[in-house]
């Protein structure tokens, strides 16, 4: 077991490597443009993966976490089945987000909740490699190689969802490994995506 501190250090080292190598690699990997990244993402076989979401809120003394599985069925169905802290399923299909909790279904329309739309909708767009969709809402910037890349999403119209500052994604090939959502008030939420599950 690596301690959290060690893990953070490993991450910092990795970021440092990106930064240093970034210039070198960008020349070498001239072929790795945004379209190439999107192709990697859209070609990636999608199935069931595990996830851990951690929310860091100013309101709370310590972060709270939820874990479970994510299922993406291209082009626009994303399921999030939470096992802990309680059983809950959130299914995004088209414009509708269905929350199933303790046997009760609640339906939300994304267009009615622009905040949720931006957060979950962007994750769905990344998973399906939908560049047009992403560029409608965000300014995109990326770096890295096909094996280790980062993608930053900056909202085009911050006034639409004032609380969201940016979304930061880390991945390798077509696999998104980590999604970090940073809010303007300092709150943030991190989703770590594990390997494919059977």
């Amino acid at each position: 077991m690596t301690s959290p501190r060690l893990r953070i250090r490993a991450r910092l080292i990795r970021l440092f490597v990106y930064a240093v190598l970034g210039g070198v690699l960008s020349a070498r990997a001239a072929g790795f443009d945004l379209d190439a990244l999107m192709t990697l993402l859209s070609d990636h076989p999608h199935g069931r993966v595990s996830f851990v979401e951690t929310r860091h809120l100013a309101l709370l003394d310590r972060p709270i976490a939820a874990r479970g599985d994510l299922v993406f069925i291209p082009p626009d169905r994303l399921e999030r089945h939470t096992q802990a802290p309680r059983q809950e399923s959130a299914i995004l299909d088209g414009d509708t987000l269905t929350l199933i909790r303790e046997g009760r279904r609640r339906e939300l329309s994304l267009s009615q909740h622009p905040g949720i739309a931006l957060l979950i909708g962007s994750l769905r767009a990344v998973l399906s490699g939908d560049r047009a969709r992403l560029e409608r809402d965000f300014v995109l910037s990326h770096a890295g190689t096909p094996d280790a890349w980062i993608l930053d999403l900056l909202p085009r119209a911050p006034e639409a969802v004032p609380s969201l500052r940016r979304i930061h994604l880390v991945g390798s090939r077509g696999q998104v490994e980590r999604v970090e959502m940073i809010e303007t008030d300092g709150d943030r939420s991190v989703i770590e995506i594990g390997d494919a599950l059977p």
Binding site: E53, R55, L57, L59, L60, D61, R62, P63, I64, A65, A66, R80, T82, P85, R86, E88, A90, D95, L97, L99, R101, R104, R106, L108, S109, S111, Q112, H113, G115, I116, L119, I120, S163, D187
Partner: protein, 790 residues
Amino acid sequence: MTARGRLLRIAGWLTAVGMLLVLVVKAEYSADMSVFLPRSPTPEQALLVDQLQEGTVSRLTLVAISGGDGAQRAQVSQAMAARLRASRAFDLVANGDEAALERDRVWLFEHRYLLSPAVDAQRFEVAGLREALMETLDWLVSPAGMLIEDLVPRDPTGELIQILERLDRGQQPRREHGIWVSRDGRQALLLVLTRASGADLDAQEAALAAIDAAFAAADDALPGATAFQLVKSGPGVFAVESRATIKGEVMRIALLATLVIVTLLLFVYRSVPVLLLGLLPVATGALAGIAAVSLGFGVVHGLTIGFGATLIGEAVDYGIYLFVQRGGLDSDQSTLSDLWPTIRIGLLTSVCGFGVMLGSGFPGLAQLGLYSTTGLIAAALVTRLVLPAFLPAKPKLRDLTPLGMVLGRALPALARLRWLVPVFCVTGLIVTWVHRDGLWNDSLLALSPVSPQAQALDARLRAEMGAPEASALLVIEAPDLETALRQAERVGRVLDGLVEEGAIAGWDGPAPFLPSLATQRARLASLPEPAVLASRLAVATVELPLKADRLEPFLADVERARAEAVIGPASLAGTSFALAVTSMMIETGQGWRVSLPLRAPFDPVGQLGIDAERVREALASVEHSNVVSLSLLELKAESDALYAAYLNEAIVLSLIGLAAILLLLSIALRSLARLWRVLLPLLTAVLTVTGALVLAGESLILMHLVGLLLVVAVGSNYALFFARGEAAPAPRTLASLLFANLTTLAGFGLLATSSVPVLQAIGITVGPGAVLALLFAAMLSRPRAAVNPD
């Protein structure tokens, strides 16, 4: 007739017409749906009628806008809503815009400790607090977390969620571009409640025009030539459209019938003065009919006047008999006296047929009965007493004897086909018998002039709006509002169980927005004092990431809530649910009535079924005091029962009418053989028409039944002529019969083209039926030539 006698009669007639005119001008006319509602309702029917005419539902109009793109539709919707809200004609204009939603949310949040069903004595104990806080933390990590994040410091126990959960039971319409849209997103939706009652059709019409105007203005304001379409639906739309349809149809049919009959008469009489004279009985009859209905019912329905077209067809016959008989005669001595006894029996049978309908509890039928009876008697009296007074001593009337001779020569050919009569009779009987199941349409909707397409559109819009039609009402009567609300809360717990069971799909009640005072006070009493709450909160949050010091706003809010007064109906003002709630509560003479609408699952077939048996059984277990009464009003079942009662009554009345006609004919004819000769063609006509309707796939409504009775009543006029003597009627009589029949066909036949089901049913039955009655009577006649060649 002396000159003095003539003058007296003419003066008498003029006086009568003058009086009738006054009555007709002063009469009140309507074309609303009231004609379908019972005259002497049971308590359940009274509730039903009340709901149909005055209930909130009757003021509801749903509006859908299509065309353009979503953003443009949203602009149109917003502009329309703004304009309609500015007008004074509407109590509520809702299009799902953010401002209204925000107002509602703020109101619910402000009153959350009075409204939340989770607030009870345990909720603010340490354990209760801890449980509620943990639940809130779990919400925070869910995708919906960001929706509640900002509210947590003020509402850490999640009372707003508790309230919204209760409301979400009713489906909300989908929202896009900040407004309500249909499920496919292609239509913008608005919901409008008129201030005027649903029974005030003029106000409803004005409100609909205001919606059209607001739409046109919003459409014009948008640059570019985008084509938007507006669709409206709802009880007001139906009522206004039905009224326009009935008015239009009645005008059209009356005009056409007059035109056709005038043309026919001009052909027969070849004289405008005689034509005008021939119309006198009709006009007088119509005036008398309307005046009688106005006196008898207080209001004359448009449909009744529509039936008047049939009166034109029949009443004009008397004039034809008179003039055709006079044609070719030199003096006025041998005029109608020859035919009068036959006409009189014919008139009496018609009066029997129409007269029994006077006994009907269905106002439409009763009005028709009174109108026709009075009209026919008046027309006959004018023909008999007044018309001869107008005729010059030697009128130049066309002699129709040549035509009559031709007809007379055709009779033997027809008579050779007499075997067809029993064949038709038996075939009709067999067809009807084979199809006896499902012969009758058993839905009140069958009488409604609202087209099935319009009904389907309404059902779709309601489903989109999340405002499905209630299939039943649970009605609570109590001496005061508080008692009624308390009872509604008790009933609500049972209803929740029924939803779980699936006996009903859902229900609405005032409780989520307006709990009884007792419930509100109990909730307030469970809020601890600030110091107590603070210390309990400190204990409850010990191991939680949410610390008590972050929750100062919560303590402040609870303290404010403790000081807050309870809410009453007036507190809801300004919210979009105020109307829905207050409309469920009606102050009656004896106290308060609270009605909870119960919903059945949406079903495109329109079978709004709930498990009424189960609901009644469950209700029986709800305790209530003697001063409170609970009843279940099944709207669809009740209206179908109402219609079934009309139908049964119509069957009984028809049989009575038939018996009266039989009795009358037996007395008049005094011969079983002649009675049979009159009845057989009538019976055959009735069975042939019925068989043909069944084969054409029509499911019969009670107006068909009434039509069949009228076939007997009207057809007997013709059949009697053929059964009068041993020989067939004289040529002139034959000619007059032909024209009398043609005018009747014109009157009823035009009704058959109507899009109003009740008019169409009578027309399609009596028009062909009258012709067949004459034809069959002719077939069964004994040709004059055969008996007495001349």
